[in-house]
Symmetry: C2
Subunit: 446 residues, 2 copies
């Protein structure tokens, strides 16, 4: 039996490796349009921060290892352009311009996501960068190494934009960030979002919300970012305004698309065609809180859905719970964490949300080095169920969120949550963990 | 209605404050035998580390605040010696030797725990210390400040012993630890326990297991700790070999005692006498994994059971889930965390335990500053339920354990746990969190 996989990043290679492990007789053929496979895309901002580390450090496993040690037929530089579902064949063009085609018994689409490219005059100027694949990382690092870059404008304020701001700043580069909408991190509790914005400003990052860029111009050997009421003269521009599912191939093949035009999957990672599976950032997922389909492209989901697809393809039933909307990131010295729904999302999903936010301490009373920690929790008034939480602090925010993740998967109520026998020792938190405090406060409000 | 409370530490004062808040007409009378109320006992080793911080920093709320702002009749220096359940009266002696007595409608026993005092020749010599209440902390700090202490022997290797080793070492004092049993941290997975022991040895703490102390002698102006095949010439000895429930009063009053002679409670914090409640370290609790009674004296439980007792006393029903056996502590640069049962405990409770331990990384592939993290998980072969977990690392161990705590309260299976949508960002962990990795490995073994 031949399994063809389109795309050789997290989801594709997770599927390939596991499917071959499950069934060594399986003929696994992977087409990847770039030359890079299996790398940590999320690590790019941190790698870019360090001029002494090659971008290739981010490669988790080289193509040669997959080929020689795992017996996978991995073809890089092979772009698939068409899936013919009636003859069960994929076809495309390789890096040398030669056409290729191959028949499949089972097919996995793992084409990932693509960065949103704005229709912005000047977007194609040299020095205007996006950051999605390893080649983008190479390009940015190369630019920083060959030019004197002292000033960068980042368009967008999502995770990647924030991580890039810190990365560039650590190289001594001045950074301005712009976005058209008025709120910084709009999904976050406002007090917490303000604290995060202050963290950037403390590190001399210019945060310009409500600034809609009209065009980018070549200017004095550099670039000028022009908005209605602001201009930024810089040496480089990074556009990080989000991603979209790479679902064109699936769409052309007549497969059903869902939320945000992502490939629609059942709980077995199967598309609307019984021989075609999908995994990773190109596909949708069930949300564990709402039970509804969502499109939240993240690394863990990509790996997990790849494993599940591999199991189902090789005849070992595997069902995936879904995603909880967990996301964590670092903003200089701050840790930011969220999971589940915020108030707006909860309303949209038909819940009657109640919210509470508290400020507590990261260490016990009188313990040296204590810092503030903010914890927010949302629950449904009717059922008492926890719907989501957010945490923000200089320590202990990120790993604390996983307790709420576990509670969301268990459909735990706030009252049940207040009973949890959480860890306590003076260097790591107060007797009543901040999450227990916010749960108690929320319970009173309901 | 009069509520009398015996003991003014965490459990007693939590009950007092909350009962008065629930019902401001309540007459709340608290007898405390020492002069100290409401302090962070767990913070003592960290306070002792710093000669510039007074021990009084650990007082969370002064007695005056309870009296003046909360309207509580708090009498320190009042030792209760007897509870007469037929006439509903307590009696005792105050600090000046004057007898007192008072009638109650409801009574709360919050007498805490007492340190085990070994019947060891020389235990009463000056310079031999225990560490339980604030006066013990005062005595140790005073001794360190007035004598030239360069060398200390700690008898015992529990949390307090370990924290004291680090505390004294940070003051430049040489430390040797001894215990009679052969295994260092016997409840911990052996590879993890060895790593923890190495952490102590790296910091030049002498760890002497299998050394049973026979006597302590006055020697050359200092002390000599004498074992069968070892001697330690030191300036101070700290005996930290565990605690016992302070349940004498309850026992004399005819109340039912349970595990380890602790006061036996129902889920409403009621003793075998309907008008007498207990809370905190003197009392037992239900274990959330086994459903059986256990005696695990810890701060969160003390506070939580105090609140529950207050609610039930004031007519607002409150039931407490129980304890999960969660414990975390710091050993120099290491974080140690556990929750639930280990293999031996699981067997004793009638489960068929399967264990797995893995070593992973605290940060993503190629992320700078990554360190090893060890994660262990135990599950029941028959039902698939998670029974417990242990974590050990220089970062991210303590707060990660709370996800397992939540899973234990939810009676989650290992398979369900592998589905959790945990947090991921390169500075904080690998894509597959160490707990997910160990759960996957454990699932395969079952």
């Amino acid at each position: 039996m031949r399994l063809i996989i389109i795309g050789a990043d997290a989801a594709g290679m997770s599927t390939a490796s596991r499917a071959k492990r499950n069934d060594s007789s399986l003929d696994v053929l992977i087409f990847e349009k770039t030359e890079d496979v299996s790398y940590s895309a999320c690590g790019m901002p941190y790698n870019i921060a360090d001029p002494n580390r090659p971008i290739e450090d981010l490669v988790v496993r080289r193509a040669g290892v997959f080929r020689e040690e795992q017996g996978l037929d991995l073809r890089t530089g092979h772009r698939v352009d068409m899936i013919d579902t009636s003859s069960k064949k994929v076809s495309g063009v390789d890096a040398k311009g030669n056409p290729f085609s191959s028949n499949y018994d089972k097919l996995l689409i793992a084409t990932g996501a693509v960065p949103i490219r704005p229709s912005l005059p000047g977007f194609n100027l040299p020095g205007v960068m996006i950051l999605k694949n390893l080649d983008d990382g190479r390009r940015i690092k190369g630019y920083l190494e060959t030019r004197s870059v002292t000033n960068v404008c980042i368009i967008g304020m999502g995770y990647i934009a924030l991580e890039m701001a810190e990365s560039l700043k650590s190289r001594g580069i001045a950074v301005s960030m712009v976005k058209p909408r008025p709120r910084f991190i709009p999904w976050m509790n406002e007090i917490m979002a303000n604290r995060a914005q202050r963290e950037l400003e403390t590190h001399e990052i210019g945060v310009h919300t409500g600034v809609e860029v009209k065009r980018i111009e070549a200017y004095k050997g550099g670039l000028k970012v022009v908005a209605k009421n602001a201009e930024f003269e810089v040496d480089m521009v990074i556009v990080a305004i989000g991603v979209l599912p790479a679902s064109d191939l699936a769409d052309k093949a007549g497969l059903k698309l869902g939320v945000s035009q992502s490939v629609s999957l059942d709980r077995h990672m199967r598309t609307s065609n019984p021989d075609i599976y999908a995994a990773g950032d190109c596909a949708d997922a069930y949300h564990v809180v709402t039970g509804q389909k969502v499109w939240i492209p993240l690394a863990l989901r990509a790996n997990r859905s790849g494993w599940a697809a591999a199991d189902n393809i090789t005849g070992k039933e595997s069902i995936v719970d879904g995603v909880a909307g967990t996301a964590v990131f670092k903003v200089f010295d701050l840790q930011v964490a969220r999971t589940g729904l915020n108030v707006e999302e909860a309303k949209k999903a038909g819940f009657d949300p109640v919210e509470r936010m508290i400020e507590a301490s990261t260490r016990a009373h009188a313990h040296p080095g204590s810092a503030p920690i903010w914890a927010q929790m949302v629950a449904d008034r009717k059922t008492g169920r926890i719907l989501g939480a957010q945490l923000l602090s200089t320590e202990g925010a990120v790993h604390r969120i996983n307790a709420v993740v576990t509670a969301l998967h268990s459909k735990m109520t706030v009252t049940e949550f207040t009973q949890l026998d959480f860890a306590y020792a003076p260097p790591f938190g107060p007797v009543w963990d901040p999450l227990l405090v916010v749960a108690h406060q929320l319970m009173k409000k309901m």
